[in-house]
């Protein structure tokens, strides 16, 4: 069920702007939590000499669109230009479950006369833990945007040599110099997606565009027992924030988080909302409204029961693009023994034809310049009723991104989520 790249993201070590851990707990007035926070602080310190740099300073900055980050590069880690691909090699990919079309991978193996092995992980946490052991030899990895700082700081990523990556000009301009990795020193983009609401038109007669706040669509007692939200603390709490008209999806405000939590608790009592990342709930008619990723909705075309048209499925995302939007990346791990092939693989995945063939199977859209909503529908990649699943470049200008949080903010987000999921 966890085949989508979004999972519980990892907290980073940077301090929340304007709100340190003590402030946060002082504001919530929770003495006991403050005890925990103090412990958390100690955890972050690691109990050793690192403490000064890890708590007072920031080992790496939090990447934000208005505060772009350029990660440091050690020249010796960059491979030379013009190298031939490794011979008799097995390129090791470390990817989410079912997050790449094996036919595309096989074609790469045939083109470069190598073998390719795919190892999968279920959560980003699990993947980072494995990489952190230093015992793995994967070449290519699919990190989410919010863990790049950790991977670079831990020296787990190999800086890219751009001479191998000519296809970068095929992607949207903002990903040729993204704020989370200025100069794309370590990553290339893989997919883009929005988080909206999938619904069954045969049951839901509400037009979310006509609601004052489309996100409140889920808060409707008519959907009792037939509503579902993502099992992801960032997405879940973000939905609660958006319901309250709060658009800072990286908020550190205890009051705002409390509002979001209370809205989710209200959703439980009103709708008996299910918390799951199920891909089949909508096609199986198990739920009528479901918070969903755009890339997860498109594959329902192949999941519909026999005899039932996909026309009954709709996907709502604010037409003006003012909603949660994000992207995933591909990077090269320094532990791999095939850096040249790894570069060639990244370039291969940026190639329009390969990216689109992968998209046809995967459902998550690559940020390719040639794509237009009309072309996707015309080429049969998206059914007309799900054209709203298309992600436009402009969404990244006006949409809201869930980005790395400071440890204190992350703890507060997690606590809010756990209080909701515990069924209080």
């Amino acid at each position: 069920m966890s085949r989508h790249p979004r999972d519980r993201s990892i907290p980073n070590l940077a301090a929340a702007p304007g709100l340190n851990r003590r402030d946060f707990f002082a504001r919530t007035g929770t003495a006991a939590l403050a005890v925990s926070a103090a412990g958390f602080l100690l955890d972050a310190c690691g109990g050793g000499g690192q403490s000064a740099s890890l708590t007072s300073g920031t080992p790496y900055p939090l990447a934000r669109p208005n505060a772009p980050v350029t990660w440091p590069v050690t020249r010796s880690d960059v491979i030379a230009s013009g190298l031939a691909p490794e011979k008799n090699a097995t390129l090791q990919l470390y990817n989410w479950e079912e997050y790449i079309y094996t036919k595309v991978v096989d074609a790469f193996a045939a083109r470069y006369d190598c073998k390719v092995e795919i190892t999968t992980f279920g959560t980003m946490d699990e993947a980072l833990a494995k990489i952190n052991t230093g015992q793995v030899s994967f070449d290519v990895f699919w990190p989410t945007v919010d863990v790049i700082g950790q991977l670079v700081t831990g020296k787990f990523l190999r800086p890219l040599n751009h001479s191998y990556l000519g296809n970068i000009d095929q992607v949207w301009p903002q990903f040729q110099n993204p704020f989370y990795d200025q100069g794309w020193r370590y990553t290339v983009p893989y997919t883009v997606y929005t988080t909206g609401i999938a619904y069954r038109k045969d049951h839901v007669k509400v037009n979310p565009d006509q609601l004052a706040n489309g996100w409140s669509m889920l808060w409707n007692p008519a959907f009792k027992g037939n509503a579902m939200i993502l099992d992801d603390y960032r997405e879940g709490i973000s939905l609660g924030l958006l319901k309250n008209g709060i658009t800072d999806l990286n908020t550190t405000s205890a009051a705002q988080l409390s509002k979001a939590k209370n809205s989710l608790i209200e959703l439980t009592s009103m709708d008996k909302v299910q918390v799951s990342n199920s891909y089949t709930a909508i096609p199986d008619d198990q739920v009528w409204v479901q918070q969903s990723w755009s890339g997860a909705v498109i594959p329902v075309t192949s999941e519909m029961p026999k005899g039932q048209s996909v026309d009954v499925v709709g996907y709502w995302f604010p037409p003006d693009g003012r909603g949660p939007v994000n992207n995933d990346t591909i990077a090269i791990l320094s532990s791999g023994s095939n850096p040249v092939l790894a570069h060639l693989f990244l370039n291969y995945m940026l190639e329009y034809g390969n990216a689109m063939e992968n998209f046809a199977w995967l459902g998550y859209q690559p940020p390719q310049r040639q794509i237009t909503p009309a072309s996707l529908v015309k080429d049969g990649l998206i059914p007309p009723n799900l054209a709203s699943c298309t992600v436009l470049p402009s969404y990244f200008d006006v949409g809201y991104r869930e980005l790395e949080l400071s440890p204190s903010a992350n703890l507060a987000w997690n606590n809010a989520w756990q209080a909701f999921t515990a069924g209080t």
Partner: protein
């Protein structure tokens, strides 16, 4: 006298084999206990009192008990009993589900086990039939139930077709009945087998004696069979209730709604959240302590029963 005692002692020794024999027979069990219980228990303690990786926030156990910290303990304590506690309801809910599910398990399992134990023929066949559910993985069985219980599933079809209900029941949308029945379904085979093992050992002669002394079927059952099977009922109920209390999968598969969250789900969530594995470890230890109480009670009660049996 002394010589006689010594002789008795020698003869006992030779009859029971060499002195090292009995402890060595316990070795596999002791090793099993050490590797699969004591070691994981110590790891849980080390995580509960440990730290986290400063970069990735993955747990970093502290092996020296003198360096253990009580931060996570304080956090969980406040979640359970503090001013903003939110776990109390989850704990009570878990307790209620486990008690109800255990009671239903017992009501189903006892007659079945009694029936099989009283059979003189085909016992093996019945036992194989009882073990049969284990041939299919638990996950597959739960997925099958998802299919059967969905809105347009077979269960709702049958119930509406027979006019027992007019509208399909939302079995999978946070229905506590489904979760409890899921627990019953998952654990009842274990209870049947334990009860069978106990009931099968009851001496038939005792039942015949009761009947000869004028007791009817029901009174024989109430005054002879039931008291003789009390210990095995306790044992069986514990064997099923303990894993039920930590179960999270049944609930995840059959509900997923926060109103049916059990403590196992909270533990699972904590352990999969970076930086919160210490909370999860403390909850595991709390659960263990809570489950230890009925276990100790059972051991004491069975040892008392054993002593009483010897006196008889």
């Amino acid at each position: 006298m002394l010589a006689a005692d010594a002789g008795l002692s020698r003869s006992k020794t030779s009859a029971r084999g060499p002195r090292w024999l009995w402890p060595s027979l316990a070795m596999p069990g002791a090793l099993w206990l050490a590797v699969l219980f004591l070691l994981p228990f110590y790891v849980a303690l080390a995580v509960a009192g440990g730290t986290v990786n400063p970069l990735f926030f993955s747990p970093e156990p502290v092996w020296n008990p003198l360096s253990w910290r009580s931060v996570y303990l304080g956090q969980v304590w406040s979640d359970l009993f503090g001013a903003h506690a939110y776990l109390g309801q989850t704990v009570l809910r878990t307790l209620a589900y486990v008690v109800i599910a255990s009671a239903i398990c017992l009501l189903i399992a006892y007659p079945v086990a009694y029936f099989v134990a009283r059979q003189s023929r085909h016992k093996g066949m019945y036992l194989v039939a009882l073990v049969a559910p284990f041939w299919v993985s638990y996950m597959m069985r739960m997925l099958a139930w998802q299919n059967l219980l969905q809105n347009g599933g077979l269960v709702n079809h049958i119930l509406t077709a027979t006019r027992l209900i007019t509208e399909p029941v939302s079995w999978l949308s946070g229905n506590p009945v489904t979760v409890v029945l899921g627990l019953v379904y998952g654990y009842v085979p274990y209870l049947i087998i334990v009860l069978y093992a106990g009931l099968d050992r009851i001496d038939q002669a005792l039942l015949e004696a009761a009947r000869d002394l004028g007791l009817g079927r029901i009174r024989t059952f109430l005054h002879v069979t039931l008291p003789l099977s009390r210990q095995v009922i306790y044992a069986g109920a514990l064997i099923t209730a303990l894993p039920m209390a930590g179960d999270f999968y049944t609930n995840t598969m059959l509900s997923g709604v926060p109103t049916t969250t059990m403590i196992g789900n909270v533990i699972s969530n904590s352990l999969s959240t970076p930086g919160q594995s210490g909370d999860g470890a403390v909850l595991v230890l709390f659960l263990l302590l809570a489950l230890l109480a009925p276990m100790v009670w059972y051991v004491r009660s069975s040892s008392r029963a054993g002593t009483a049996g010897e006196l008889l």
